[in-house]
Amino acid sequence: MTDVTHTTTAETYTIPVGPLHVALEEPMYFKIDVRGETIANVDINAGHVHRGIEYLTTKRTIYQNVILTERICSLCSNSHPETFAMAAEQIAGLEVPERALYLRVIAGEIKRIASNLFNIAILAHLVGYETLFMHVMEVREVAQDIKESVFGNRMDLGAVCIGGVRYDLDDETTAYLSGALDKLVPEIDEIIATYRTNGSILGRTRGIGILKREDALACGVVGPVARASGIDYDVRMVAPYAAYDRLPMVVHTLTDGDVWSRAMIRLAEARTAIELIRACLRDLPGGPTHLHDRPDIPRGQAVAKCEAPRGELIYYLKTNDNPEPERVKWRVPTFMNWDALRYMLADQKIADIAIIVNSIDPCVSCTER
């Protein structure tokens, strides 16, 4: 394991990054000891987005919680209610209709496309490459339009309910959706080619913020961060849920573990997500989209997990005889990946701080709840 402990000496001085910093989409606070332009030590001070949601979940009914968990974070806002609902369905032994399983995949993968493209765009922004940033964001707008036209909101889909999904696809929306995907495919392919060859991007991301495989295992990192460090782990593959076992899933891995690898994994997954949605549209079975009424959730406990855009998301739900759950606990991918920043930032340049932090696609609002 790499040693990441450093001592502060006379030549170092401390710069604060955050808590409100333009380069960081969200408030977080690093104290960084630097020697010249090189990072000597990083201290992460967390808690700026702690809203006490775990406490709130025990004050809301299970049906309100589906929406509350959606508001934990807007970038993975479909994964939270989906996993929560999966846990509740497990406790109640509910059989979710087949059509709903496919519709859940569609909602999840659309969020994945938008979320990954957002991260890729921000990378370009941090590199100072505004045109590329705008271009990727424009491409992402196609996914945003899908969300708004099919689900009714650009961020929070409200797709999932306990026992199924709340939305349905009719002929019009299906045609719209597949048309939009056809538009996305060449654009994403072009973006992949750009990130693979562009000198400005390569110069700032290759060999930067490396996380070695053994360090990645020690930190227990998940999602694209793990897969970029050569760890072949994807919840959709190892513990299939929804309809993933019937879909052409591909897990992408790279071995370099640098900022660029993580970006390329995200792009590849956005591309795969399109194929998954297309497969869903092709195989979409008929039938109801959700169980009727509001099923009772009896006393019990369950663990459920899914692959959010940033990695494994796990929920623990414990219910008793009240309409409110007794305890809801979840662990988001960034919770695991954050700690790995210590390894990635060691001995890097100040200029790369934001780029490296962004490379784990940090979701502070998820992590701090």
């Binding site: 929406i67 045109t131 339009d145 708004e148 099919v150 009714g152 909101n153 072009e190 060859t197 509001r294």
Partner: protein, 167 residues
């Protein structure tokens, strides 16, 4: 170098900027915007109040009847109310023009009133809610529903019981 082609394409195709705010903005049909309440079709079950995660919906009992209010400054536009409403008397419109000055903060409310009525049968004062007839078999005709509606909950139950006995 494929980037220069993108620049050229941008120049050639012209700006992709939307006309808004100088022109109209496109709103998708399914957009989940402002809440609208239709009092006459409401059954008064208050399920919307119970499933609203943000506490934006509140029913208040007044001298005139049962008041419905939804405060848009705390509503999260999730659509739970519409999804669980048995009659869809609460629904989301596509209206997103919600920005307002601070002075208007507390008037961003959608409200409605389910008025009181006098029961045609027993003369008691009761709410003029829509009767819950979706599960009634055989289905009721419009006249029957209107007839049922004029009664208080107790007399409605009696009415339905009598109808069941007949069929």
């Amino acid at each position: 170098m494929n980037f220069l082609t993108l620049l050229a394409r941008n120049l050639w195709n012209g700006p992709s900027t939307e006309a808004f705010p100088f022109g109209p903005a496109v709103t998708p049909k399914r957009f989940r915007g402002k809440i609208a309440f239709d009092a006459p079709s409401c059954e008064g079950c208050k399920i919307c109040e119970r499933v609203c995660p943000a506490g934006a919906i509140r029913f208040t009992k007044t001298a005139d009847g049962l008041g419905f209010s939804c405060w848009h400054d705390t509503c999260v536009f999730c659509g739970n109310c519409e999804f669980y409403c048995p009659t869809k008397s609460v629904h989301q419109t596509t209206d997103w023009h919600l920005s307002h000055t601070q002075a208007e903060k507390y008037s961003m409310v959608e409200s409605g009133l389910i008025p009181n009525q006098v029961c045609v049968e027993c003369g008691a004062t009761a709410l003029d809610t829509a009767p819950s007839v979706a599960a009634v078999k055989p289905p009721m005709s419009a006249e029957e529903v209107a007839d049922l509606r004029g009664r208080c909950p107790k007399c409605r139950a009696k009415f339905l019981k009598a109808r069941r006995a007949k069929s």
